[in-house]
Symmetry: C3
Subunit: 347 residues, 3 copies
């Protein structure tokens, strides 16, 4: 069966790669399934072109960077970072005709990542998302990218979902047999949704005890920003503050890469925090990626997503609603008060 | 090309597994391509549910059996053998709403096999097929399941076809150069078809000589019962009686599992008969499975089945006719006399 | 995405195999994706049948040749080189009914190759292409077949394209930095197109220096003959004459086999020429096959071919035009003067 196409939000920025990955070798990526080639010119600018030579369709990423241009390996056509064809070997006429240009994607490079605008040959209407606390003194920063065979809405729901942690990650940071009644307040704006967890005690798992031995009330927000950002913010007592933000890139409809940037402030040296957090986070994510792939396999088999939700599916349905609206260009009213709902659950 | 969809007969029982295969670990199977999970509750009952959690689509077979319930591995939703959702962790409301139930399949466990009714959430209108002679004194019973990449009608025709044995299984039990003129009487009722072979001498191959060294006229019936049972009954003289019945399960349209149950009475100790019969049968079936897979590959390539039959294709066309009728709910008239035809052939 | 179907020219001969490949074992090939079985009868004739037994669809190439007939491995049906069913084991009636015949393809065997006519059960309207100079004294002949995952029009354009040689095969026989202004005259008839390169100096690469150390003006023609023949003719001075002809067989839409026959006359012993030419040609072709597979992958991804051509794409657009015409049965006017165009380029 064909799986349904998830919402596409094209008037938006997505992370194509980390800055250090684009050099003088062409870098091949995909966005919504389409191939993109990134390269850095001698002046340091990053170009992002559709990875198909307009001449005979050969991926430009098979070619090489020559000065400020990307050269196709088949006939040697050369393109600049704007996609313009600048040279055609053997040919005595002028190379620069519009029909010979490669489709180009707008690019922004900041905070160590390269963003591309998901509509080719288009001018961006806003700037990319800003990773919070990354540039702030006192915060250690950890970066990592991971991949899941699932849609952005499945990945984002999973990343911000509390109830599954006791089962799928049983013992790692929540345990099924220890439950606390907490309040959850969901607030949905036109372009984002968040949940605040109120009265949550310090988690009881192993890692929580290592990070915050003395206990203390937890401040905890889970957030989704259209069209692709998930963010978990935790404060334990006054000393510990974690803001983990991941930009989800739809490499394909059921293939999402998460570019995660964690900003951490604790009473421990940052090197220790990084050493502990990274393998722990990757282990958690490995379990999530496996279950998400199983969810995708079901969607492919049945050709549809049929989900029965309850109140404790706090954010998933809102995320999908926002994405479906955004796909159709309905960006809502920025001046409206947020939609708000408070429920209780056992976490 | 897309291969044509073979007839589906859904108001019917199919074998899902042997009894001993369903225990406290969930067991994943497929029926007409759909995933089914089987599990045994503490009381010994077998449950069969569609292998998709109604919550987020995760296969329930990834979960675990907890008491009388099957628990999903993602969020811990729990289902009983009737498919009812009995518990949702974290959630403070009542779990048991119909929209949260898993689709369930009626189950019968008897004679060492587990049957499921191929329409979910449906009440069976009759009971499963009874394996003949299995419970009768003096009969040794051999069970084995094998798999073929072919439709039920191709598998059933092959299992009951005489002419191919001299070629495909040349030398194993019939030889092309030794031919006997025999009479074949085909009788088709509303729900089954059989062929009686009249005047067939003892086969001349190796195994036949071992089983019946003294010779004797053979009584031989081949039978198909709607929608999935093939049966070969042989008697050689008065001492030897073999009834081999196989229930064909459409795991998918072109993937059929045969649950074969052989009831055997001979003058040899049953342990010797089993030891000889099983490897011989598996070798024969291996050749059949290979040719059936080639037949399926042709059907996929050309997107259709185009078959030229002759009189000596005794049962295949009748099997397909019965299946096509049954698919459309036309069960014929049980009171009518059977359709009968007698032909001669060289076997 | 589905790649577009390239033009099919069915009223035409294609090479199925080299003569020495058809013996007493059935040989399986494909043409436009359809399976064909070739076999040689005791009288030496070659039969070519659709590789599907009319009885139950089993590939006849799984069977064996018995005398003048091909026998199916499932039930032993036997077919002669005309496709007529001549024997059905077990069956007491007459085998030879038209509904039991296998589809057959007309065959010609000459110059060491076996040609089949691409429309089954059809009478050819003309004879196959004649390989030039192959039978002429003084010429060494080298034969080789290679395969590319690409359409005939992509393969033919590539084989006859000059500008890519400096890039894709950089250093092997042309170098990007050494350019000569030459004239190219393209002539298109109703059934073929050629380009003559005028004023081309001796190539400067390694192999060219070996073959023609004393230099001399080059005569060079590239030719395409409908629907599948590419030919490169080179003369260097008066002593060296190379005619390399390849018959392209559409095994499938994006899988083309080239049966190349090179006729060579030089001042060197033919054994030396063969020893040098073959590995060089195979190395060149390996680079071409890799770039053609990349071109095909792009076509599959985007579901279309979008090509921007310039004047120096001398033959490709004409080849596609001739194929599209021929597919629709428009064979043009053989009496018309050729369409002619002269351009200059740097080669």
């Amino acid at each position: 069966m064909n799986a349904p196409r998830p919402p596409h939000v094209r008037k938006a920025w997505y992370v194509a790669c980390w800055s250090h990955e684009v050099g003088r070798q062409p870098l091949a990526r995909t966005l919504y399934g389409d191939p993109i080639v990134l390269f850095r010119s001698t002046s340091g600018d990053v170009g992002a072109l559709l990875d198909r030579c307009p001449h005979r369709g050969i991926p430009l990423s098979r070619g090489e960077v020559a000065g400020d241009r990307l050269r196709c390996s088949y006939h040697g056509w050369e393109f600049d970072t704007a996609g313009t064809c600048r040279h055609i070997p053997s040919y005595l006429g002028s190379a620069e005709k519009s029909g010979r240009a490669a489709n180009r994607f707008a690019v922004r490079e900041r905070q160590g990542v390269v963003w591309v605008w998901a509509t080719p040959d288009d001018e961006p209407t806003h700037e990319p998302f800003d990773f919070a606390y990354v540039d702030k003194p006192g915060y250690a920063v950890v970066r990592e990218d991971v991949r899941a065979n699932a849609t952005i809405h499945a990945v984002a729901e999973n990343a911000l979902d509390v109830p599954h942690t006791a089962f799928l990650h049983g013992g790692l940071f929540r345990r099924p047999e220890v439950r606390n009644r907490i309040a959850c307040e969901v607030r949905r704006w036109h372009d984002r949704v968040e949940c605040e967890y109120i009265g949550e005690p310090r988690p009881t798992g192993l890692v929580a005890r290592l990070i915050s031995p003395s206990g203390g009330v937890v401040t905890h927000f889970d957030r989704f920003f259209l069209p692709s950002i998930v963010q978990v913010e935790y404060a334990i007592g006054t000393e510990n503050h974690f803001v983990i933000t991941a930009a989800c890139t739809p490499c394909d409809d059921y293939d999402t890469r998460l570019y995660a940037v964690a900003a951490l402030r604790t009473r421990f040296p940052s090197s220790i925090v990084k050493t502990v957090l990274k393998p722990f986070g990757l282990r958690i994510f490995g379990q999530d990626a496996e279950i998400l792939a199983a969810q995708t396999a079901t969607t492919h088999h049945f050709g549809e997503e049929v989900y029965a939700s309850t109140d404790v599916d706090l954010l998933g349905p809102h995320i999908l609603k926002l994405l479906l609206r955004a796909e159709h260009g309905d960006l809502g009213n920025p001046k409206e008060e947020p939609w708000t709902r408070r429920i209780e659950m056992d976490a």
